[in-house]
């Protein structure tokens, strides 16, 4: 009796999901770097940063089913921590005169700065989540929105430390498609590990039926807080990457626009699965790129045709509403991309 149990097969299939998704992203970067087009390479890097942000976002929203509007604030924290620790001290003395000495003299390299950004975001998530996640689903969503507005108000007015509404410039632009790919793959692996863990499973049980899960002795609050903290870490890192990709940061770059884009990607791809998050990012990034080019103007024969500026957001929002009406579970409808059972079952079980 050397059969591989159904359960083992299913665990092995689930383990192929992050690997296949990582291969998909690798293929995406390879295909684009083969074209040698610099604009496309920038688009690839930006897309992979969004994968880090949205998969980080998914760790909480996908598993708990609670929509958060606050994750753009974690990206904001990450970006500013990275700016505080990597900018040249002389530059900080003029741009950000209010920084404490420890930060004002810091000149870290970029990797510890990104990790520090993620860690600060995680600590803030732990503290605020301890209050916010006591609320039931919808009320918690509203409280995360209040948290986003709170961070934005503080960042726009704390001029000595954050530069206020004027931009912080001069961040080292080190984020190539390959750097972004590295972080995206790390995020994918951690997200898949968390999803397969006991806590991830318990959290998804509360997503499906809050009352039944509590009745089975699941501590909803603890698992939500854990995933919220973990998810904030990767959104913080994603924010740091975004700052170093553009080179310029200001508080409004991490406000409703980013919140909307992250949410749209998750909804279009499908909140219910990790593959949905990745597919949503790829689909909407390509759509955004196409629309931005159309706003600049497309020449067809003798006539130039251009969409009015701002129509990009309208089209994406309308697409999101249409997805919600006609395909509420998103493109992936909660399914994962994984290898079929017979490929992972091993030679013993194929006889069944």
């Amino acid at each position: 009796m050397n059969m591989v149990s159904q359960h083992r097969i299913r665990r092995r299939m689930a383990a192929t999901t992050p690997l296949l998704l990582a291969l998909l992203l690798l293929g995406f970067v390879l295909a684009i770097s083969l074209t040698g087009d610099r604009a496309l390479a920038r688009m690839a890097a930006e897309t992979l940063i969004r994968v880090t942000l949205v998969v980080g976002f998914w760790i909480f929203v996908g598993n708990s089913g609670v929509v958060s509007f606050g994750h753009a604030a974690f990206a904001c924290l990450g970006a500013y921590v990275s700016a505080w620790t990597t900018l040249k001290p002389a530059m900080k003395a003029t741009l950000l005169p209010g920084l404490p000495d420890l930060l004002a003299n810091a000149e870290w390299s970029v990797l510890p700065a990104a990790v520090a950004g993620g860690l600060l975001a995680a600590v803030v998530a732990l503290l605020t989540g301890a209050a916010i996640l006591r609320l039931s689903g919808i009320a918690a969503s509203i409280a995360t929105f209040a948290f986003l507005a709170m961070v934005n108000t503080i960042w726009a007015n704390w001029t000595g430390v954050t530069g206020g509404t004027s931009s912080v410039v001069g961040l080292a632009r080190y984020v190539s498609p390959w750097v972004a790919l590295g972080w995206a793959v790390v995020t994918l692996l951690v997200a898949a590990l968390y999803g397969a863990s006991a806590s991830g499973l318990a959290l998804r049980a509360t997503r499906e039926d809050e009352v039944a899960a509590s009745a089975s002795g699941i501590d909803r609050y603890r698992h939500r807080l854990l995933s919220y903290t973990l998810s904030a870490f990767f959104c913080g890192v994603g924010g740091a990457l975004m700052g170093h990709f553009i080179g310029v940061i200001n508080p409004d770059g991490f406000y409703l626009g980013l919140t909307f884009l992250m949410l749209a990607m998750l909804v279009v791809g499908g909140i219910g699965s990790l593959s949905g998050a990745v597919v949503g990012v790829l689909a909407l990034s390509i759509a955004v790129e196409a629309l931005v080019r159309m706003e600049k103007g497309v020449t067809l024969g003798a006539t130039t045709f251009a969409l009015p500026p701002g129509s990009q957001e309208i089209i994406i929002a309308v697409a999101m509403i249409l997805v919600l009406i006609f395909r509420p579970a998103g493109l992936m409808a909660g399914r994962e991309i994984m290898l079929p059972a017979r490929w992972v079952a091993g030679r013993h079980s194929t006889k069944n």
């Binding site: 089913g65 609670v66 929509v67 509007f69 605020t128 209050a131 916010i132 006591r134 609320l135 039931s136 689903g137 919808i138 009320a139 969503s141 509203i142 409280a143 929105f145 209040a146 948290f147 507005a149 709170m150 108000t153 503080i154 007015n157 704390w158 809050e210 009352v211 509590s214 009745a215 409703l256 909307f260 949410l263 749209a264 909804v267 009015p308 500026p309 701002g310 129509s311 957001e313 309208i314 994406i316 929002a317 309308v318 999101m320 509403i321 919600l324 009406i325 509420p328």
Partner: protein, 302 residues
């Protein structure tokens, strides 16, 4: 507390209460947290002026005399909300509250960018009812006439709504639907009628908020509904989701705390007023996660 501060708190709290009612009415009948409400307010503001991207606004509808303008604006707000319900929320009638909320957020983004395309992104100066800014002597305090009108209008609206909800058939149906929607339908309440009614009322209230905002600030800005919508959300959460009187009380309370903070905080901390406010609300919720006025049935029993 000085009399001046009392009027400030009452006027601000009144506007917050009206906005919170606009959110709570729709939440009550269809469990939708309407993230497009702020954009309903912004659309009503921009309906006053003619589409152009210039910095100086040219009044369009806003040139009508007040007696005509107010009903026209109420109708505009109601119509916009009804249109949104028919196009977006009716096809999503059976969706989960989370999906509805995300859909309304997308609708809000679409409306905001529509305004950006039509009117440009810069704030515009609008002079509507400028003569209402004159101060009036009330006892020892000097109060702008507008503030008195706002307080009177808020009281009239709250009274009118209370009478409507208690004495009319549609009001009774709305309260029944808010209590238990499925049961109410089985007893002969028409879902479409009640939901449309709630949207129309909510849109009308958004138009009221828009008129007051323009008259107070003299500015039309694409983003102007956002802050007040957030306060309205917070008021509905603090008041206990689904409780109309709770939303009104919490709206008044938040307005009062906000006015007190504005007067009491040292000048250098004043820009952070809203951050203190939101932080305070999160603290309140730490001790009363169900809100201050939660109905007994709002928490599932385990």
């Amino acid at each position: 507390m000085s009399l001046q501060l009392f009027f400030d708190a009452l006027a601000l709290g009144g506007i917050y209460a009206i906005a919170a009612l606009g959110i709570a009415l729709i939440f009550g009948v269809m469990k939708l947290v309407n993230f497009a409400h702020g954009q309903f307010i912004a659309c009503a503001v921009f309906a006053l002026i003619l589409p152009s991207t210039d910095a100086m606004a040219v009044l369009g509808l806003g040139r009508l005399p007040a007696l005509v303008l107010v009903p026209v604006m109420l109708a505009f707000g109601a119509g916009l909300a009804l249109l949104a319900e028919a196009l977006v929320f009716r096809p999503m009638r059976n969706a989960s509250p989370v999906a509805l909320m995300v859909g309304s957020f997308a609708l809000g983004v679409a409306l905001q960018n529509l305004l950006l395309v039509l009117y440009g992104g810069r704030p515009k100066a609008v002079s509507l009812w400028a003569e209402l800014g004159h101060p009036v002597q009330v006892g020892p305090a000097e109060v702008p006439l507008l503030q008195l009108i706002v307080i009177a209008a808020v009281l009239a609206i709250l009274l009118g709504l209370a009478v409507m909800l208690r004495r009319t058939r549609i009001g009774l149906e709305m309260r029944a639907a808010a209590e238990d929607f499925a049961m109410a339908r089985m007893l002969g309440v028409r879902a479409n009628r009640v939901i449309s009614g709630a949207f129309a009322l909510s849109g009308g209230l958004a138009a009221v908020v828009a008129l007051v905002l323009v008259a107070q600030t003299g500015v039309a800005d694409v983003r102007m509904g956002g802050q007040i919508m957030l306060v309205a959300f917070i008021a509905t959460v603090v008041g206990g989701m689904g409780s109309l009187s709770g939303a009104v009380a919490a709206g008044l309370g938040i307005g009062a705390v906000s006015a007190l903070l504005q007067a009491g905080l040292p000048a250098e901390a004043r820009p952070f007023r809203d951050a203190f406010l939101y932080g305070g609300v999160i603290l309140v919720l730490l001790f009363r996660p169900q809100g201050l006025f939660a109905s007994a049935g709002s928490k599932p029993r385990v």
